[in-house]
Amino acid sequence: MKILGRIAIILTAALLVVGIAIGLSQTGYLQNMTPTRGDFGSQIATGVTASTTVATTGQPSSVDSTTVNHEFAREGHNAASLFGIVQVLQSLIIIGLIVSPFAIAPRFMRKREPGASSGQPPPALSI
């Protein structure tokens, strides 16, 4: 019962975030905040251009505008690839770069402290 209550609190907090996001999207604030930039934006823009060209020429076409947009937006993402492991390594490297100052700094701080290790016996096992 206690856990259910806690889950309800977490879900409420998540719903609050989602509600704010939906509210902002309906006011058009998010659209203004997210201009078409980078690869993703240009791909979407290209998709829209292709569909509008078909519409303006007036020629009958079996290509659905949403399909064109969709294909451009998610091109290359649908199939799994072993080369995609680069993305995993990339994420690990970024996290490693963020973590490394926090992991290394305390060691330097300890070394700089005068007599930090003088009174302590050396470790029994050092690998």
């Binding site: 989602v18 996001a21 926090f102 992991a103 096992l125």
Partner: protein, 189 residues
């Protein structure tokens, strides 16, 4: 009741061990989920939804810290705890947005359940932006709890493996032998 407790206590798993296992699973899931080129879109979406359950479990496991820090946030919480709290709050908002926008632009998971939403360009952009942001925030989250991670890994992974391989018994012997050999070499030279 006390007898029952005494009987149960030897089989009780350490909370640190549980946290380490859950957090490791979440971290690996995060790495997999943030690589859609590696997994493909379908596998990207399903664990993405399950990731929400992982975060929920993580929050439930750290509920006492969450409540205690919230209660003393504006009164007597130390600076470090406030920074952690702010970062964790930001991470919660970010992950919620990643999952929500992922649901909004879902192409295989939700249609398989018979649901679909109108995917707008803004949702896609927010999904990408918040996912990129989450990488940095999770990096900071890991960095802030680095010492705990090191200690937990040492106690529950390195030490058990070491004892399993009988390293504590054999290693000092080897190191002593190596030390003697080095001294002999120095004398000879």
């Amino acid at each position: 009741m006390q007898e029952k407790k005494q009987q149960l206590s030897p089989t009780k798993v350490s909370p640190t061990k549980v946290n380490l296992i859950v957090d490791s699973v979440i971290f690996i899931a995060f790495l997999i989920v943030t690589a859609p080129h590696f997994t493909g879109m379908a596998i990207h979406e399903w664990p993405g939804l399950a990731f929400g359950a992982g975060i929920m479990t993580h929050l439930l496991l750290h509920w006492h810290w969450l409540v205690a820090t919230t209660q003393r946030l504006f009164s007597q919480a130390p600076r470090q705890a406030r920074i952690n709290y702010a970062l964790n709050l930001l991470l919660f908002i970010d992950i919620t947005l990643v999952i929500f926008t992922g649901v909004m632009i879902s192409e295989s998971a939700l249609p398989a359940l018979g649901m679909s939403f109108a995917a707008g360009g803004s949702w896609r952009m927010i999904h990408t932006t918040t996912a990129n942001l989450s990488l940095g925030l999770i990096g900071l989250h890991v960095a802030l709890y680095w010492q705990w991670i090191v200690n937990a890994v040492r106690n529950y992974i390195v030490k058990p493996i070491g004892s399993w391989l009988h390293l504590p018994q054999t290693m000092p012997q080897y190191s002593a032998k190596l030390g003697l050999a080095a001294k002999q070499l120095q004398k000879e030279s």
